[in-house]
Subunit: 199 residues, 2 copies
DNA sequence: AGAATTAGACTGACCAGTCGGTTTTATTTC
DNA sequence: GAAATAAAACCGACTGGTCAGTCTAATTCT
């Protein structure tokens, strides 16, 4: 039966996620993961070849999650501005869900900067989003629903805004309502980019 | 003579900055800092009580730098939108200057999330910028040069955009021209927030 | 001289990863 | 369906190496 095996594997993953997020990747010892997750050292290394491989597995899980979320959302709307808004909605949801795990996202980013292997792994999907936004904006611009501008600029603007909101959310006490703040900011940005009636 | 002493101190700081940025704080050993900076272990610990205190010193240096830069820039313009633009200009410059050290900024952020002591240290100046922007936007809104909106929202939008641009700059190959991209994005954001002629 | 600074060998804690062995689960055979 | 066998999962004491920080002695400045 692979069921037990699968279960410990995910337990390793989840416990690691928890610890990596709260105390950081480097500071989290394998021993601690094992203790907190009631896993033995041997079992840990039976499932993962290294501590870092757990990190990578978490990264992959995170990326595919985001990807699925976006993929399911993008097909729905036909109007470009609302389509963008929908994707942003998804984004807000996503951050809402995983507030506690946000620091890990930073850790991913940081490691990407230092390690070319991780960089490649993260960049590919990232580039995919950029391209997707680019296409969306191009369409919007040509159909007149978005102002005449460099679509790349629009994409980067939107993504930057989203990332920056994430970053700030991380720093502020949990009490603050970043979910609605994010929504408002994004919709206002889109409003500012929308095509003007005449032009 | 304190001159030599001062010199080794800054050499420790600069070498650490270099290494922390390129290979990360955790991965950088004190021995390596000493080797690369031609400093002995004893000297190192004569000037700093711990590795982490070097980190903190770098953080302080960074923060006061930013602060000075902003402080000198803010007084110049009287018109609100152009004042904001000026501050953003400064920001762009600032990122331009320290491209290589950008990863350290992330490291600061990450540690702030994990360590309350660091958090306090970073939050204070951060809050100062937010407040400053708030005031600026409030003024702009009341004088009509900025749209009617929550000034906090405007501040967070602008800061988010700036942070997000930084984040993305870090990930992309050095070739890309983020300096002009940043400028364009920020000025477009301000354009979108500017007061409409009628209203 | 003597205070400040520099030198670098040394220590002790910590920690990722290993290894020999046990227990649980799955499969085969009678 | 139960005994026998194989395979997968689990266990935790142990190791080897790393690294922040210490200590004593030497050197350099005033």
């Amino acid at each position: 039966m692979q069921k037990r095996s699968q279960e410990t594997r995910t337990r390793i993953l989840n416990t690691s996620l928890e610890l990596f997020s709260t105390i950081g990747y480097e500071k989290t010892g394998v021993a601690l993961i094992c203790e907190k997750g009631s896993i033995s050292k041997g079992s840990f290394y039976h499932h993962f070849p290294s501590k870092h491989s757990v990190f990578e597995a978490l990264l992959d899980r995170w990326l595919t999650n985001i990807d699925n979320q976006f993929e399911s959302e993008i097909a729905l709307s036909v109007d470009v501005p609302s389509s963008i808004l929908a994707m942003s909605e998804t984004f807000a949801q996503l951050t809402q869900l995983s507030t506690d795990y946000l620091p890990l996202f930073l850790e991913f980013w940081l490691q990407s900067v230092h390690d070319p292997m991780i960089w490649q792994r993260t960049t590919a999907p990232y580039q995919k989003y950029v391209d997707r936004f680019n296409l969306l904006f191009e369409k919007g611009i040509s159909e007149g629903s978005i102002q005449k501008m460099d679509p790349k600029e629009a994409s980067y603007m939107l993504i930057s805004l989203a990332l920056g909101l994430l970053l700030q959310k991380m720093m502020s006490p949990q009490s603050e309502d970043w979910s609605s703040m994010s929504k408002n900011c994004i919709s206002r940005l889109i409003q500012g980019i929308k095509g003007v009636p005449n032009a």
